[in-house]
C-alpha cells in the first residue's frame, strides 16, 4: 500500500522559530510595499470604467493610448488581457477625471475605430462603478472578514475552548496578511472575486487548522502525562498524510483553474493556490505554536483536557482514554 509520511516523526514545532522568520520575510516587505504603493484595486472599488475589447488584429497599447488621449480620455490604463488581441482598458475616476461610463465607452469606440477599423473589434465586457458603490464594497469586504473571525472564535470556543479559537484566528489573520503580501508582490488586481478568494482562504485555513486541533484535543485526553509540545508534534505528524493529500489535490485544482480556466478567473485562482499553501503552513507553524505560547503564558487545566468533553453525539469519545497505549510508535521524543 502506498503510504506517504506514515510514521513521520518530524520535530515541526522545534523549527517554529525558523518558520516565524520565513513568515516575517514573506509578510513584512509585502506590507511595507503595501503602505508605500497600496493595492491595485479594480474599478469595482475605486469607481470608474473597465472595458474588455477583442480586436481582429493586434495593436500596440501605445497606439491605443494615443487614440484614447486623442478622444479625450487621459490617464487610462491599457493592458493586453490574456491574448495579444484582447485589451483591458481601465479609466479610473480621479485619474481620468469624472468621465462617465457612457463617454468612456464612446471614446474607446472612436479610438478603436481609428486604430483597428470600425468592424474589427468587439467590446465584450463593460463595467462602470461610481466611487460611492466602490467604497461600500470595500467596507463590506472588511466587514465580512471581521465577522467571520468573530463567528469562528465563538464556534471554536464552544466546540473546543477559547485558546484554540484564538490560535486559529491568529493563524487565519497570518494567512490573510500573507495573501495580501502575495497579491502585492504579483501586483494582482484586487476585484470583488479576489476578495471572495481571500474569504475562501479564511475558510480553508480554518478547516485545516481544525483538523489538526481535533487531533490535539483527542491526544490531550489520551496522553495526559505528555506535555503540549510533544502532543502538538505528535498530532501534526499523525495528520500529515491527510494534510499533504488534501492540500495537494485542492492546490492542483486551484492551479488547474489558474492555467486553464481563462484570464477572467486567473487572479482568483492564483490567490486561492497561494492561500492553500499558506493555510497549510500556518496550521502547523502558526496555529500550533500560538497554542503552545498561550498555554505557557496562561497555563490552565482546560488545555490539558481535564474538562471532560461533553458531546457524545460525534465526539471521538471520552472513552478513548481506555484505548491501550498507542502502538503507533509515532510518539516523538523531542526535548523541550
Amino acid at each position: 500500500m502506498l503510504r506517504l509520511f506514515a510514521h513521520a516523526q518530524y520535530d515541526f514545532i522545534g523549527l517554529r522559530r525558523w518558520a516565524y522568520g520565513l513568515s516575517a520575510l514573506l509578510i513584512l516587505p509585502g506590507l511595507v510595499l503595501l503602505l508605500v504603493r497600496g493595492l491595485n484595486y479594480s474599478i469595482e472599488f475605486t469607481g470608474g470604467t473597465f472595458l474588455q475589447v477583442e480586436a481582429a488584429r493586434s495593436v500596440s497599447t501605445a497606439q491605443l493610448r494615443a487614440a484614447l488621449e486623442g478622444a479625450g480620455i487621459v490617464g487610462s490604463e491599457i493592458q493586453t488581457f490574456g491574448a495579444d488581441t484582447v485589451y483591458a482598458i481601465r479609466a479610473r475616476i480621479g485619474q481620468t477625471g469624472d468621465a462617465s461610463t457612457q463617454s468612456v465607452v464612446e471614446a474607446v469606440g472612436r479610438a478603436l475605430d481609428a486604430a483597428v477599423g470600425a468592424d474589427a473589434y468587439r467590446i465584450v465586457r463593460t463595467e462602470g462603478v461610481t466611487p460611492k458603490v466602490g467604497g461600500e464594497l470595500q467596507e463590506k469586504a472588511i466587514m465580512a472578514i471581521l465577522f467571520s473571525f468573530v463567528v469562528t472564535l465563538i464556534y471554536l470556543a464552544a466546540r473546543f475552548e477559547w485558546r484554540f479559537g484564538v490560535a486559529a484566528v491568529f493563524a487565519t489573520a497570518h494567512d490573510i496578511a500573507a495573501t495580501i503580501a502575495f497579491i502585492r508582490y504579483l501586483d494582482l488586481e484586487v476585484s470583488l472575486v479576489v476578495v471572495a478568494a481571500v474569504l475562501t482562504i479564511v475558510g480553508y485555513s480554518l478547516n485545516d487548522t481544525i483538523v489538526i486541533f481535533d487531533r490535539v484535543r483527542e491526544n490531550l485526553r489520551k496522553f495526559r502525562r505528555q506535555n503540549l509540545y510533544e502532543i502538538l508534534n505528535l498530532s501534526v505528524n499523525e495528520t500529515l498524510p491527510r494534510t499533504i493529500l488534501t492540500g495537494g489535490t485542492t492546490m492542483m485544482t486551484a492551479l488547474a483553474l489558474a492555467f486553464i480556466a481563462g484570464e477572467v478567473i486567473r487572479p482568483f485562482s492564483l490567490v486561492m493556490a497561494f492561500g492553500i499553501l499558506v493555510g497549510t503552513f500556518s496550521s502547523i507553524y502558526v496555529a500550533a505554536p500560538v497554542l503552545l505560547w498561550i498555554e505557557r503564558r496562561w497555563p490552565g487545566q482546560d488545555v490539558r483536557g481535564a474538562r471532560a468533553y461533553a458531546g457524545p453525539d460525534f465526539a471521538p469519545g471520552t472513552t478513548s482514554g481506555a484505548v491501550p497505549a498507542p502502538a503507533t510508535g509515532g510518539r516523538p521524543k523531542a526535548a523541550v
Partner: protein
C-alpha cells in the same frame, strides 16, 4: 440488515431526485423576433440550471435616485416607484428572467440576461414614467370596426385560422364572457376574421381578452398597417399588464381607448391606499393640482358611468374602474373586494406617474455572450481536469477504497448540481471555480476517514472494527472543519453581492453535498462491501 436497505433507499432516491432535477426540460423564453420587430415566446430545451450574467452574457444595472438636481425627500418610496415603473418596462427586453429588485434601502438592481446593448437598456430603464387617465371605448367603435379590419386583413392575404390556433368553432366573438363559446358570430362570414379570431369581449366596454398563447400573434397583427388604417378615429389600442385566468386559460387584456387622456400624471399630487371603514373595500385615494382638478372635474362630469383606464408607459394598469360621480380635487378608486396589496400597487403606480424619480446609474456591467460562453468552456475544462486528477490520486493512493470514494464523488457532483437546480441558485463564474475547488475539498472527508482507518488497522484492529472506528473518530474533525467553512461561506453570502454570492452559494451547496456523499454514501459502500466479504482480513485502503 434493515439499516443497510434503508441507506440504499435514501441514496437511490437522492440520486433519482438529482438526475430528475438535471434532465433537460422545456423552458419558455421570450426572444426578440427580428422579423416582426417585437418579442415572441419560444420554447427551448435546456438543462435547468440558471447561469449568472457573467456566464450567459447580459447587463447588470444598479440605480439610485438622482439627487444632483435637488434632494429627494423619501428615497425609499422613490425607488419603489421606480421599481414599479421599470417592472412594467422590462417586457421590452429579450430576457428570460429579468430581475428587478430593490436592494437595501434606496438602490434598484436590474439584471437583463442576454441583452447586448447597454445603451438601449439604460435608456429604457431611465426613461421618465408617463401616467395618463383615458376613457375606454364606451361606444364600442372598435368592435364595430372589426369586420372592416378583418376584411382588410383578408384582402392583404392574412388568413383567419393561423396554425396552432384553437379550432374555429371555439373562436367565437361573444359579448358576454360568462357564456364564452356559445354566442353568435358577429365577425362576418363563416370563417372568422384574422383579428377577431383572437379577441374575446371582456367584461367592460372596450375590454378584449386575448388567450396568452396568441398574444404574440395578436401583437404582430396589430402591428400591420391594415389595422392602423382600419381603427376608428380617436381610438387607440393598449395592452393591459396582467394576465388573468378565465376558466383554466390565461388571458391578456387589450383595451380600446380614447386617444386623448383626460388627465396626465403631472396633475396628480398624492395617492395612497387604504381600507374603507364602512364597507371594508380596498380603495385608493388621490389628490389633484388646482389645474388638474378643474380638468378632471369637467371630464368626469361628462363621463359618469364610463370606465377610466389608468395607463403607465403605454400599458393599462389593472382593470379600468368605473366613474361613479363627478370627481373634483380628490378622487377615490374603489377596488371593492380586491386585496389591499392591489390597492397599494395601484397607489404606487399613481405616485410613480405623479413624481417620476430620476434614476442615476451607480453600477453597470455588460458581459458579451461570447465572453460568457468562453468562460463556461474554460471553467468546465478546468473542472474536468481537476476531477480527473482527483480520481487518479484517490485510486492510486487508496486503491479499492479510493474507487469507492470516487463513486461517492460522482454522486457529490450530481447532488451539488441537482441542489443548485432544485433551489434555483444561479451558477456564476466564481461559482464554477468554487465548484471545481470544492471537488478538491470534497475528498478531504474521505481522506480523513481513510487515514483514520489505516491508523486503526495499524493498531491491529480487525477490518470491521477499524472501519467502524475510522468513521467514528474522523467524524468530529469532519463536522468541525466543515461547519467553520460553511459559516464563512454563509457570511460571504450575506455580505457579498452578485458573483460573490453565486460563489458562496455554490460553496455552501458543495459543503452539504460533500458531507452527505463522503459520510453517508461512502459509509454505505463500506457496509455493503463488508457484508459481502465478512471474512475479509486485509482491507484495500
Amino acid at each position: 440488515m434493515k439499516s443497510l436497505r434503508y441507506r440504499m433507499i435514501v441514496i437511490v432516491s437522492l440520486l433519482v431526485l438529482s438526475v430528475l432535477q438535471l434532465l433537460p426540460r422545456r423552458v419558455t423564453q421570450r426572444v426578440f423576433d427580428a422579423q416582426a420587430g417585437r418579442m415572441k415566446d419560444t420554447a427551448v430545451r435546456r438543462v435547468p440550471i440558471s447561469l449568472g450574467l457573467d456566464l450567459q452574457g447580459g447587463i447588470h444595472l444598479a440605480l439610485e435616485v438622482d439627487e444632483s438636481k435637488g434632494p429627494v425627500a423619501d428615497c425609499s418610496d422613490a425607488i419603489r416607484r421606480a421599481e414599479r415603473v421599470v417592472r412594467t418596462r422590462v417586457d421590452e427586453f429579450g430576457t428570460t428572467e429579468p430581475v428587478v429588485q430593490v436592494v437595501g434601502e434606496c438602490r434598484l438592481v436590474v439584471e437583463l440576461a442576454g441583452e447586448k446593448d447597454p445603451g438601449r437598456a439604460k435608456q429604457i430603464v431611465q426613461k421618465t414614467a408617463f401616467l395618463e387617465f383615458r376613457i375606454t371605448d364606451m361606444k364600442n367603435l372598435f368592435r364595430d370596426a372589426l369586420p372592416g379590419i378583418d376584411a382588410e386583413l383578408r384582402r392583404a392575404g392574412v388568413r383567419g385560422g393561423q396554425p396552432g390556433a384553437v379550432s374555429a368553432v371555439s373562436q367565437l366573438f361573444s359579448q358576454d364572457t360568462t357564456k364564452q363559446g356559445t354566442a353568435d358570430t358577429t365577425a362576418g362570414a363563416n370563417a372568422p376574421g384574422a383579428l377577431s379570431a383572437v379577441l374575446f369581449q371582456g367584461q367592460l366596454p372596450g375590454e378584449y381578452l386575448v388567450p396568452e398563447e396568441q398574444v404574440s400573434h395578436a401583437e404582430s397583427l396589430l402591428a400591420r398597417p391594415e389595422v392602423a388604417a382600419g381603427l376608428p378615429r380617436g381610438i387607440e389600442l393598449r395592452w393591459g399588464t396582467e394576465t388573468e385566468s378565465r376558466g383554466a386559460r390565461p388571458y391578456r387584456a387589450l383595451y380600446a381607448l380614447e386617444d386623448r387622456p383626460i388627465i396626465t400624471g403631472d396633475e396628480l399630487t398624492k395617492a395612497a391606499a387604504r381600507r374603507d371603514q364602512v364597507n371594508n373595500h380596498s380603495v385608493v385615494t388621490f389628490d389633484l393640482t388646482r389645474r388638474g382638478s378643474r380638468k378632471f372635474c369637467e371630464a368626469t362630469g361628462r363621463h359618469v358611468k364610463d370606465y377610466m383606464a389608468i395607463i403607465l408607459d403605454g400599458r393599462v394598469q389593472g382593470q379600468p374602474p368605473i366613474i361613479n360621480d363627478q370627481i373634483c380635487g380628490t378622487g377615490q378608486i374603489d377596488l371593492q373586494n380586491k386585496p389591499l396589496t392591489e390597492a397599494q400597487d395601484l397607489a404606487l403606480v399613481l405616485r410613480a406617474g405623479a413624481l417620476p424619480a430620476p434614476l442615476q446609474i451607480v453600477e453597470e456591467r455588460a458581459i458579451g455572450p461570447s465572453l460568457g460562453a468562453d468562460s463556461v468552456r474554460a471553467g468546465v475544462r478546468a473542472g474536468v481536469f481537476a476531477v480527473a486528477l482527483v480520481i487518479l490520486v484517490m485510486i492510486a493512493y487508496y486503491r479499492l477504497s479510493g474507487a469507492l470514494a470516487v463513486a461517492a464523488l460522482a454522486m457529490y457532483v450530481l447532488f451539488t448540481l441537482g441542489g443548485l437546480s432544485m433551489f434555483g441558485f444561479t451558477l456564476t463564474l466564481p461559482g464554477l471555480a468554487g465548484f471545481a475547488l470544492s471537488i478538491g475539498m470534497a475528498v478531504d472527508a474521505n481522506v480523513l476517514i481513510f487515514e483514520r482507518i489505516r491508523e486503526e488497522l495499524q493498531l491491529g484492529k480487525t477490518v470491521r472494527l477499524a472501519v467502524e472506528e475510522g468513521f467514528k473518530h474522523a467524524m468530529s474533525a469532519i463536522i468541525d472543519s466543515n461547519t467553520t467553512t460553511a459559516l464563512t461561506a454563509l457570511i460571504l453570502y450575506l455580505v457579498g453581492t452578485g458573483p460573490v454570492q453565486g460563489f458562496a452559494i455554490t460553496l455552501l451547496t458543495g459543503i452539504f453535498a460533500s458531507m452527505l456523499s463522503a459520510v453517508f454514501v461512502t459509509r454505505t459502500f463500506f457496509l455493503v462491501w463488508l457484508q459481502r466479504r465478512p471474512a475479509m482480513v486485509t482491507l484495500s485502503v
